[in-house]
């Protein structure tokens, strides 16, 4: 039972607390480049999720035999191989998507978040926790990508997944699907996450203050 809650915690922290995009501000390039539609954002998110999970598993299996001095080249080679697998798979089964994601797919290789998880987590843990860590980080990344994609597609072309949502009266704000809109939106979203984080901290502080007051009162009584 305890094991299970731990695994859940490992998975969960990637979703909000350490969300790769909003909290750690890592791997921002794809968050802007391929999020002009939900489909592209989702495809990119899932590809990254697969690569990060698979790489965490590979690294956690082989960590015993890897000399610490050469660990970074080992990570890079492993990531590059997995990315090639993803590229070939997409090219074979989803040629249109492959074309839209084009160079950004290959650039998954140098995502800081994947390298960071291998170094921080997979190198020090066994296979199962590493799997959940990668899965959680990947899910957090995918969630953030889809969220950004949905907002940009909704305001930029009035659709979600290509289905018209806003009706005829809405005049699409083209800037949202263009590069500048992406930058501005991410800036505002980071600010929103900061406000939420601050609010949570305050909540914790007040809770702590109330409980300590309670303790004092009880002590006096």
């Amino acid at each position: 039972m305890k094991e299970q809650t731990n695994l859940w915690e490992i998975f969960y922290k990637g979703l909000f607390e350490q969300n790769p995009i909003f909290r750690l501000a890592l791997s921002l390039c794809p968050a802007l480049a391929v999020t002009s539609t939900v489909v592209n954002a989702l495809a990119m998110g899932l590809s990254v999720m697969f690569v990060i999970t698979a790489n965490n598993v590979v690294v956690s299996i082989f960590r015993r035999w890897v000399n610490p001095k050469v660990r970074v080249p080992v990570y890079i080679t492993s990531i590059a191989t997995i990315v090639t697998v993803v590229q070939l798979t997409l090219q074979a089964f989803f040629p249109v998507l492959f074309k839209e994601l084009s160079i950004y797919l290959a650039l998954i290789v140098v995502f800081a978040i994947i390298l960071a998880r291998a170094e921080v987590f997979a190198m020090k843990n066994t296979v199962i926790p590493s799997f959940f860590d990668g899965f959680g980080m990947g899910a957090g990344f995918t969630g953030a990508m889809v969220l950004i994609g949905a907002i940009r597609e909704l305001f930029g072309s009035g659709t979600i997944l290509g289905i018209p949502i806003m009706g005829d009266w809405y005049d699409p704000a083209l800037i949202m699907v263009l590069p500048p809109g992406g930058f501005i939106l991410i800036g505002l979203m980071i600010a929103a996450f900061n406000i939420m984080g601050e609010y949570q901290d305050k909540l914790k502080e007040t809770k702590a203050a109330i409980s300590s007051q309670d303790a004092i009162q009880r002590g006096e009584a």
Binding site: C29, L32, I76, V83, T84, V110, P180, G187, A191
Partner: protein
């Protein structure tokens, strides 16, 4: 000649790597707090990118393409560029310590960076010849330097501005980059690509 000029200007302004293709954002936001560091970074990226493009062009056209190994492009380019930058760092450290003190730290940061990997990949994808690869790489580097220097000058001014607490740091930097991207967007259509 005109073709090369178009390619160069296109890479510098219209298809600016940072502001319209979103490559190299990590260094763009990380280093642009300081103007001097930004100038250094811009020059380091331009030179590394040109050198690694030459190297990658040779490997792609003499090894990968003739032997039908193009599916290995990603793996080979990553390992090639990362090890090349490491090697360069060692050589500079040994033979030009003064230069190393100035640029060394940037070299470490660029070793595995999407902009340095992205240009050789784009060159390979668009089947550029040798001269075009170099022009494209230099243009992209100059474009990166231009963007990061502009951004650093803006951010240094911003230090004296009174901005909402939640927007401080990265938030306002992104919005600023959006404005910058908007102004670069005015150039699109100037050069047909």
């Amino acid at each position: 000649m005109g073709e090369y000029f178009t390619l160069f200007m296109g890479a510098v302004i219209v298809n600016n790597f940072v502001l319209t293709r979103f490559l190299g954002l990590c260094i763009f936001f990380g280093v642009s707090k300081n103007l001097n560091a930004s100038v250094g970074m811009g020059m380091a990226v331009t030179s590394i990118m040109t050198l690694s493009s030459i190297l990658a062009w040779a490997v792609y056209n003499f090894v990968l393409h003739p032997f039908g190994l193009t599916f290995l492009t990603t793996v080979v380019f990553v390992v090639l560029i990362a090890s090349f930058v490491q090697l360069l760092e060692m050589i500079i450290k040994k033979h030009a310590p003064a230069l190393y003190n100035m640029w060394g730290i940037y070299l470490v940061l660029i070793a595995t960076n999407c902009i340095v990997l992205g240009v050789p990949l784009l060159n390979a994808e668009s089947n550029f010849n040798f001269a075009k690869s170099i022009v494209h790489a230099v243009g992209s580097g100059v474009g990166f330097a231009l963007a990061i220097i502009l951004m650093a000058s803006l951010r240094e001014k911003l230090q004296y501005a009174d901005i909402p607490k939640s927007l401080e740091g990265l938030g306002i930097a992104f919005i600023l980059a959006g404005m910058l991207a908007l102004s670069f967007f005015g150039f699109s259509g100037m050069i047909p690509l």
